[in-house]
Symmetry: C2
Subunit: 210 residues, 2 copies
Amino acid sequence: MSRNVKNNVPSGKKKAGRPRRFDETVALEAAMEVFWAKGFEGASLEDLTNAMGINRPSLYAAFGDKNALFSKAIDHYGETIASPAQVGFHNEASIEKAVTAYFELALEGQCRNGDCAKGCFIAGMVGLEDGCMPELQAALAKQATATHQGFVERFDREIKEGRLGPTPDAEARATLMMDLMQAQSYRARTGATRKMLEDQIEMRVRAVLA
Amino acid sequence: MSRNVKNNVPSGKKKAGRPRRFDETVALEAAMEVFWAKGFEGASLEDLTNAMGINRPSLYAAFGDKNALFSKAIDHYGETIASPAQVGFHNEASIEKAVTAYFELALEGQCRNGDCAKGCFIAGMVGLEDGCMPELQAALAKQATATHQGFVERFDREIKEGRLGPTPDAEARATLMMDLMQAQSYRARTGATRKMLEDQIEMRVRAVLA
DNA sequence: AGTTTTTCATACTGATCGGTATATTTATCC
DNA sequence: GGATAAATATACCGATCAGTATGAAAAACT
């Protein structure tokens, strides 16, 4: 247990060679922040390495090229920010609390650096680079479809069990909720304060549950 | 009338020097398309000059640098695409028709090249370049505020004259309508077909007028 | 100790970026 | 028919881009 702990290999054999001087996860987080703030094309290798605290060869050895790093940043965003919002939604028993939780958790991710609003990482990126990275676009679309489907199933259940009116139908409600989340993200990116967006959550919830 | 017509100076004195071989407006339109598809940083001078059918010095003489060209493209978008949607809204007598017209005209602009959806030009740009072009961001925000205010006034009138319920209030309805327009734009940018978006308009209208 | 393996640091590559200097065309003005 | 003025075309500029070659440094293995 005491052996090898410096090498981040808590048990068994250590890895040979010079140990890494940075944590892969915190470096990825820093990269995500840079992409978030500057976009894919706007984020230069110098920006990235500065923020991550490593130099170019280390970056390429650990993450691959810029595209691969971006792709990993997307995944990281999904795991640490996007998916908690969905989980929060599905874990609430009451549909009203579920929808509210979704908007609140999404806002948490959109405004995580104090009041400095930055919007949804994915929403700000996707669709801009024309034809570039089509496989990435496809992956994002697939992820969005899965999220949408989860919402549809929940709304369907609520409607079937009489806790929600039949119109708008589950499909429309799911679309509406994702639309309003996206709009909230857009407002976060374009100068809205956190307080403004918090005050609008009730309106969004009502629109989805009307 | 016959004199000077080749020089695009229909009356009076002609301009000295070699005449322009391109139409400024169609060149600007082409530039807007490139920015629209690739974003500001993604659009290279080569992309722009190729699409506009002119070469670099002509571009710089006619429009200034890349930032100035982008700014003029934004203005052009507002005049030819964004503002018609607002006018369409304000010209309809019935509020239901007004809201519907707004979404339809916005969709017109978002999908203008056949089924190839591209979303809202402004929405796709704003907020991405971190701290870059702050004066441009401010101009866009001001324009958005003016649009919002116009909607608020109309909804206020409808509510006061009893054609619309008091909740959500005019402010919330205006926010909601712009949010749903923005969401429609986002969907247009991320692969939704025109038909899908047309079918969703009724849902959006209902959400605003609920 | 000495070899091996992995990472780190510096400096470099060719390509592309936005922007421009130079010179040639094409028109009007005198 | 010059002289002048404006727009064209070509080629170039320094800066920056993403990506990499090279060698030193730091650990484990034998």
